[in-house]
């Protein structure tokens, strides 16, 4: 009886795996489709900006990671304005996807960090070298400290990171940024979000902001 059940179950598992593969194919990285989506959703202006972003994006085969960091950091720091979430999204805190940030042409610190992170991953930088890091920022002595997020790049696991920040347009080693105190760091590797399960259908996705934005990135063919 259970043998029968199991063979049936095996059959069903195959059906599910095949359909998931189809779904995954639909959601996989495809920048042409991203651009098409931008055109459909936001119009030619945004599609053009996405085109520019694609032109800027370094090839994954290029060996020089520092160069990649430079280009991507500059692109976003120049083209995206810093605007608070409360103004931009009428929400306390909103983590925008790459396409949303490009569409608005604006974002706050998380949006910058996420856009850079995604772009770097697309440019072939291994994810375990990147950390989205919550930092405590004190721009001037005696001023009120601020909550901020930056993207840290670790060339080696036990070394000092380079900081990609939207307030300071230059990429600097952590030692040269005494105004920043790291609090917590994370990246996408710990979230197994590229598993076979379609993340957007998973109810637990919506609970975490990070997983939420990852799911949106996947849906927009960015990751």
């Amino acid at each position: 009886m259970f043998g029968w059940y199991r063979s049936c179950a095996v059959k069903w598992v195959w059906v599910i795996v095949l359909s998931l593969l189809v779904l995954a194919g639909m959601a996989a990285t495809n920048l042409d489709r991203l651009q098409q989506l931008a055109l459909n959703r936001y119009g030619t202006e945004v599609a053009r900006l996405v085109g520019e972003w694609r032109a800027m994006l370094p090839s994954a085969q290029a060996p020089n990671e520092l160069d990649k960091l430079e280009r991507i950091n500059n692109f976003f720091n120049r083209r995206i304005r810093w605007v608070e979430d409360a103004v931009l999204w009428q929400q306390d805190d909103y983590w925008a996807s790459l396409l949303e940030t490009l569409a608005k042409g604006a974002g706050d610190c998380e949006d910058f960090a996420i856009a850079k992170y995604v772009s770097l991953v697309l440019a072939g930088v291994p994810e375990n070298k990147l950390r989205l890091t919550y930092v405590r920022m004190q721009r001037r002595p005696h001023a009120e400290p601020e909550a901020h997020m930056i993207l840290a790049y670790y060339a080696a696991p036990s070394g000092e990171p380079l900081i990609l920040d939207n307030f300071d347009p230059d990429i600097k080693p952590a030692a040269q940024r005494p105004d920043l105190t790291p609090v917590y760091a994370f990246n996408a590797t710990q979230l197994w979000f590229r598993g076979p399960n379609p993340s957007s259908s998973d109810p637990t996705v919506r609970i975490s902001r990070w997983r939420d934005v990852l799911a949106r990135l996947q849906a927009e063919h960015t990751l």
Partner: protein
């Protein structure tokens, strides 16, 4: 295997399949939910732990310490601390107690506990990552218990649905029992019509069988009516509806000689003295009309006397036989008074005569005695003819004594006469009851003592006594024995119950009993008779109609009762040797009887030459003085 059982198995399988698949789906979704919860819990705990470590830990020892405390206090299967290069720096693992869940269940519904991962760092320095996996045994426990609860619920639900299903099937299939009964009745040639049920298929079957039953009944009815016409055409006078002279004499002789009916009674003669003048004065047609009215009035006047025979002995002469009557004066007075009420009765000149008869009286002597005592009557008075008034052989007091003693001392006996089938085979023994009274020293026949028993309310006891005798005789001789049952034994509910009780005590003998029921009882109390047949049939005894004569035309009415035989009266049988009509009648009756599944037996066969002819005509049995 019965239909109900098969349907039951199907319902059971359906319920089982439904419950099973619902259970599997339910457990699967619970399994998925639990996996998700575990995954989120692992992730959240890993993140929280990593956050704490990132804030406070500066070296591997602190990391390990914090790790230990988290592990020792929490419900984890394994916590790992990996260095920045992915090397395992420290780990805690619990040899998990296998959950109290059967292994097959865990194999069937595995719960994957995916580890949660989070990176830790101190300042800008990476310390590595931690991986954390919760113990899934709680999840297994919970899944197993919810599966058990589900199974209990489904079992209850399944039982409930099964019970409801059973009730429904019973209701739906109820008509099937009736279909089977009807089909079995048809096989026994009982033509039952039953109300069609609502279920379409059953309704079609029952309607078809009803049509068959109805058509057969109509056919039988038509045939019986045709035979009755054939019988009565020659026997009945067209103007009065009385028997023609010859037939009256035959019937009257039969009545007087018959043992089972009252052996005493009255013979009345009524004569229209002035018929010739009447014909001249008012015309023959009017005279015939007047005679018809007279005949009707005579019947009406005497309708209280059951078993009366009416005959037109000549153009102006009428004979009436009243069994069981003794007071000739009262009867004649009543008759005359009633005839005076006929329209134009003043035109009639009537004269009357009456005489008593006893068992073994000769009809022709009686008739000539009457002729001689004929006395005229006018409107004012009736000169009573002088005739030997009946002297009752015993007074009421004597009868009571005779019967009480007979019941007490078991003085009833059975006279045995054989009933033969084809090739002289033995069919059964007819056993009329006799009473050898020690009180008066006489042997009394049933016709003599039964009317007195009836008057004194002892018929029930007498019948039971005779039944007991019969059962004893059956046991002694091993023969099938046939006895006669009177009105009370058939129609009195209490007596029927006692008869059944007595027969149930000796079941083997009961199956060898044949019960003769007179045609008057069967046709004039059809409901009581049907009820009687219904109740006695399960005992295995045989029930039939005896002395069938006047009611042959209604024979088809007996179709649904499950009777076994009919006995044709001697009046139908005795002229078979030389009358074509009698032969045609018997042949027709045999056809009807056989269609209804009845044996047809001829009574009162007195000429041994008639026996082969009767079998040739289709009769199944004969009895009478010529049969030994």
């Amino acid at each position: 295997m019965s239909l109900v059982k098969r349907l039951w198995i199907v319902i059971g399988l359906i319920i089982l399949a439904a419950v099973f698949s619902a259970g599997i789906i339910n457990i699967h979704s619970a399994q998925h939910y639990l996996e998700n919860e575990l995954r989120v819990k692992n992730l959240d705990t890993a993140t929280a732990l990593a956050l704490t470590l990132s804030q406070s830990a500066s070296d591997a020892v602190t990391v390990e310490l914090l790790l230990s405390s988290q592990f020792d206090l929490g419900h984890y299967q394994r916590i790992e601390y990996l260095g920045p290069d992915g090397r395992l720096m420290a780990h805690r693992e619990r040899a998990t107690q296998p959950p109290a869940v059967p292994a097959w269940f865990m194999q069937l519904f595995p719960i994957a506990s995916e580890p949660g991962t989070a990176v830790i760092q101190s300042g800008w320095t990476q310390l590595g990552s931690i991986q954390l996996r919760s113990d899934p045994s709680f999840a297994y426990d919970s899944l197993w218990h919810s599966a058990l609860e589900l199974a209990e619920l489904f079992l209850l639900g399944g039982l409930l649905v099964g019970a409801l299903g059973m009730v429904y099937i019973r209701r739906v299939l109820q008509p099937l029992q009736r279909v089977v009964e009807q089909a079995e009745a048809l096989a026994e040639r009982r033509y039952l019509e039953i109300p069609p049920p609502r279920t379409r298929e059953f309704r079609l079957i029952i309607e078809a069988m009803n049509r068959l039953a109805h058509r057969t009944k109509v056919l039988l009815d038509d045939e019986a009516t045709r035979l009755y016409k054939l019988k009565t055409e020659h026997e009945v006078d067209a103007h009065t509806g009385f028997m023609v002279g010859e037939v009256f004499r035959r019937n009257a002789t039969d009545e007087i000689e018959r043992e089972s009916t009252n052996p005493q009674g009255l013979l009345l003669l009524v004569r229209i003295v002035n018929l010739e003048e009447l014909n001249r004065e008012i015309g023959r047609q009017q005279a015939d009309r007047l005679i018809g009215l007279m005949a009707q009035q005579m019947r009406r006047a005497l309708q209280a006397h059951t078993g009366a025979h009416y005959g037109r002995l000549g153009a102006a002469e009428f004979g009436i036989l009243l069994p069981g009557q003794g007071d000739s004066a009262a009867v004649l007075q009543q008759l005359h008074a009633s005839l005076l009420q006929v329209e134009h009765s003043n035109l009639l000149q009537l004269s009357y005569a009456a005489t008593c008869y006893e068992a073994h009286s000769d009809l022709f002597e009686l008739l000539s005695a009457c002729e001689q005592s004929m006395a005229p009557a006018d409107a004012e008075r009736l000169t009573l003819p002088v005739s030997g008034g009946m002297q009752p052989s015993h007074s009421a007091r004597e009868w009571e004594q005779i019967l009480q003693v007979a019941l007490h001392k078991h003085e009833f006996q059975l006279a045995l006469y054989p009933v033969r089938g084809r090739n002289n085979s033995y069919l059964h023994t007819e056993a009329p009851a006799r009473l050898h009274s020690s009180v008066c020293g006489e042997t009394l026949v049933a016709g003599a003592f039964l009317p007195w028993a009836r008057r004194q309310g002892l018929v029930g006891q007498v019948d039971l006594e005779i039944l007991a005798q019969t059962l004893a005789t059956v046991e002694r001789h091993g023969h099938d024995i046939c006895i006669n049952l009177g009105y009370e034994s058939v129609c009195d509910e209490g007596l029927v119950q006692r008869i059944i009780a007595m027969m149930e005590q000796s079941k083997t003998q009961a199956a060898q009993l044949w019960f003769d029921v007179g045609e008057e009882i069967a046709f004039e109390h059809p409901q009581a008779f049907a009820c009687f047949c219904e109740r006695l049939r399960p005992l295995g005894c045989k029930i039939g109609i005896e002395h069938l004569d006047h009611h042959v035309g209604h024979l088809a009415r007996l179709h649904g009762l499950g009777l076994h035989y009919i006995k044709l009266s001697r009046t139908l049988v005795q002229d078979v040797g030389h009358e074509e009509t009698a032969q045609a009648l018997l042949r027709g009756l045999c056809t009807i009887g056989h269609t209804m599944g009845l044996l047809v037996i001829a009574e009162g066969v007195s000429q041994s030459d008639d026996v082969p002819l009767l079998f040739e005509l289709g009769l199944d049995g004969v009895t009478g003085s010529a049969v030994v």
